[in-house]
Assembly symmetry: C2
Homo-oligomer: 367 residues x 2
C-alpha cells in the first residue's frame, strides 16, 4: 500500500500530530456519531472481550481524545468486558512512538490509565488485508487513510492529483479506488462480530464538488500543480519528473463510498454490511481560521505550509529521478515549498486546507 | 523496567539478531520442549482463537524459526482455529523492524506466508503487567529476558554484576528478582486459558554454579569488572562512575526459578500454575566453537567482542557521568571494548560466552 502520509510518522516526536491538528478536529467533531453507534450496538455486559481498532493510526495522536471518550463509554456500559484496543498502520510506521503516546509516556495526554482492564496492541498489517480474527471486531474506526490506493493505476499527464486528471485517467483512479474500498470493507465485514460497527471518516468529494483544500477559494492541488509545472518550465525538474509525480490517492464521491453497502449484488452488501449513516462535512483549516484572528500574512504562510508539506512532500520527492543526489532533491523541495509560502504571503486570501470528509457509520447484520 | 539488551534492537536492521546468534541456538535447541507441551495441551479444534505470545521479542529474529515450527504444528492440529501471534517488548523496541521481519519484508526468513488464518500483533506492555485479556493465552513463550529487573535494588560496590556481589548486595538482587519473577508469573497465570502452557527459557545459575560466560574458563563478568576497574584505577573513569555501573539483572538459581510453582502457599501456585518440566543446559558460544575450527586469535577476538558489546554497552554507558560529552563517553567505551578484544587476542583460550539457561515448561490447571 502506498501510504505517503504515513511516512511522516517516521519523523516521530508528535510531528505528525502537530502538523495535522485539523485531522484531530475532524475526528473530535464526529465523536458523537461513534458514541451513537455504540448506543445502537448496545453491547451485552457478558464478560467477553470487546475489541476496537484504529486503522491507519499513525502515532495515535489525532484519534487519542476520541478513543479515550469511546473506551470510557465502553467501560461504563460493559464493566465486565476486557477491552482490546488495536492500532494498525503499515510496517514502516513509528510504532514505538505510538506505544509511548498511548501508554502515557510522552506529553500527549492519554486515556490509558483511566480505563481499566484495557489491553493495547499494534498491527503492521495493511487494512487491505485481514487484521483481526473473523468475528472478533466490535468497533472498527478509520479516518483520513482510505484515500491512499494500494497501487498507482495510471500516470496523470497534466496534473499531480486525480482531482485534476483527464477523464480516462480519472476513471482508472476511480476503478482502483473502487477495488480498494470494496476489499477494505470485505475484510472488515469478515472481522466484525454480528451487530458490530464501523466508523469510517475519509477524504472525499462532497455534493458540491468540494474536496481537501478546494472549498471555494484557491485550490491547493491546483497550486501544487502550478508550482511543480513552474519548476518543470524553468528547468529545475525534468518533464519526466513532472510526469512521474502523482499522488497515489483517490477522493471518492458519496456515491462511490456508499454503493457497496446499497447494491444487493455487491459482495460487501452480501457479506452483511449495512449503512447506518452517511454525511459530508467541511472542517475549516485551523491555520486560515487563525489568520482571520491575527491578520499577519507572513505568519499565516509560515504556519500553514508545514501542514501541507507534512503529507505531500514524500509524493513530490518520489517523483524526482533516483539519480539525483539527496542534497539536490532537498534543495528542489525546499524551493518548491518556499515558493508556495511566498504565494500565500503575497496574496493570502483564499488559501486554506479545509477538510472535506465523508462520514460513514456501518454495521454488520446481527446474528 | 530496565531492559538494556532491548536498546540494541533500536539499532535495527537485524543487528541484534546477528549479534545474538547464540540466543537463537538456545531457542532452536529447545523447540522440542515446546512441541511436547503443545502435544500435552492437546488443544481442541473448536474454531476459537488460539493465541501465542513471545514476551521480550526484540526484532523477533532469535525466535523466528521456533515460532514458525510451533505455529505450523498448531495449524496442523487445529485447522479451524484462527491464530493470534502477539510479540511483546518495551515501548522503545523497534517494532517497525519486528513487523518487517515477521511479515517477510526483510531478508530474515519468516513463517508468515506459510501459516494461514494468522494474525500478528505487537504489544509495548512490560511482562511485569497484564498484556492480553484474562484467560485468552494458550502458549506463552519468553526467552533470555526475565533476568532484567524492573528496578535496580542496590549498588554493587566491588563488581559490575550480581554474580560478583557481596552477600548482602546479592540478597537485595535476589529479593528484587523474586518479586519480579512472581509478578511476571502471576500475570501469566491470569492470562492463560485453562490448560494453557508457558515455555520460559532464561539465563540462570545452574547446579554447578555456571552462568553466562562462566562455564569453567575465564569469567566474562570478572573480565568486564577487571577492565572497568582498570579504567577507574588509571583515571579514565571516576570511582563514582565505577560504583554507578551495575547490570540491572538477577541470574536465578533453579531453586529460585521453580519455588513459586512448588510452594502451595505461593500466589503463583494458588493461581493454578504448575511446573511440567525444568532443566538447565549449557549452549556453547558459537564464536569460541568457530575459533576451534579456524584457530586465528585475532579473528576470534574481532568476531567475539561485538556479541558482548551488543547487550552490555548500554549498562557501561549508563554508569558514566551525565556531565560527560557524548564523544568522551564513546571514546571510553571504545577503549574498554578494545582492551577486552586485546585480552582475547593475546590469550584467547578460556574466553567464551557460553549460554547457561534454565528451561521451564509450566501449565495452568485445566478448568
Amino acid at each position: 500500500m502506498a501510504s505517503t502520509a504515513r511516512d511522516i510518522a517516521m519523523k516521530g516526536g508528535g510531528y505528525y500530530s502537530r502538523a495535522t491538528i485539523g485531522a484531530k478536529h475532524v475526528i473530535d467533531g464526529a465523536t458523537p456519531l461513534i458514541l451513537q453507534s455504540l448506543e445502537d450496538m448496545s453491547p451485552p455486559d457478558d464478560g467477553s472481550v470487546f475489541t476496537m481498532s484504529d486503522m491507519g493510526c499513525a502515532d495515535a495522536g489525532t484519534s487519542m481524545t476520541m478513543v479515550g471518550t469511546v473506551l470510557k463509554e465502553v467501560r461504563r456500559r460493559v464493566p465486565s468486558r476486557p477491552i482490546q484496543m488495536v492500532y494498525t498502520d503499515l510496517p514502516r510506521n513509528d510504532f514505538s512512538q505510538l506505544f509511548r503516546n498511548v501508554l502515557g509516556l510522552t506529553d500527549t495526554a492519554s486515556y490509558y490509565h483511566e480505563v481499566d482492564n484495557l489491553h493495547v496492541f499494534a498491527s503492521g498489517t495493511s487494512f487491505h488485508r485481514s487484521i483481526v480474527p473473523p468475528g472478533t471486531l466490535h468497533l472498527g474506526f478509520s479516518a483520513t487513510a482510505s484515500h491512499y490506493l494500494s497501487d498507482k493505476p495510471a500516470k496523470i499527464e497534466n496534473h499531480v492529483h486525480m482531482v485534476g486528471a483527464a477523464v480516462t485517467e480519472r476513471a482508472a483512479y476511480a476503478e482502483q479506488g473502487r477495488r480498494d474500498w470494496e476489499a477494505m470493507l470485505l475484510h472488515r465485514a469478515r472481522e466484525l462480530a454480528p451487530g458490530g460497527r464501523l466508523a469510517l471518516f475519509n477524504f472525499g468529494v462532497d455534493e458540491e464538488g468540494r474536496y481537501l483544500g478546494n472549498t471555494g477559494g484557491i485550490s491547493m492541488f491546483d497550486t501544487f500543480n502550478a508550482l511543480w509545472t513552474e519548476l518543470r518550465d524553468d528547468g529545475t525538474i525534468t518533464p519526466r519528473e513532472y510526469f512521474d509525480t502523482n499522488f497515489p490517492q483517490h477522493y471518492r464521491t458519496v456515491e462511490e463510498f456508499t454503493r457497496p453497502f446499497r447494491d444487493p449484488d455487491n459482495p460487501v452488501h452480501q457479506a452483511g454490511l449495512r449503512l447506518d449513516h452517511a454525511e459530508t462535512r467541511v472542517v475549516r483549516c485551523p491555520f486560515a481560521v487563525h489568520f482571520e484572528e491575527h491578520g499577519d500574512p507572513a505568519r499565516f504562510a509560515r504556519e500553514y505550509i508545514p501542514t501541507l508539506r507534512s503529507w505531500s512532500e514524500s509524493t513530490f520527492a518520489s517523483g524526482l529521478s533516483p539519480g539525483r543526489p539527496p542534497k539536490e532533491c532537498a534543495a528542489i523541495l525546499d524551493c518548491f515549498y518556499d515558493r508556495y509560502e511566498a504565494r500565500v504571503r503575497d496574496a493570502p486570501h483564499g488559501h486554506a486546507m479545509d477538510y472535506v470528509h465523508c462520514y460513514l457509520i456501518a454495521s454488520k447484520v446481527p446474528a
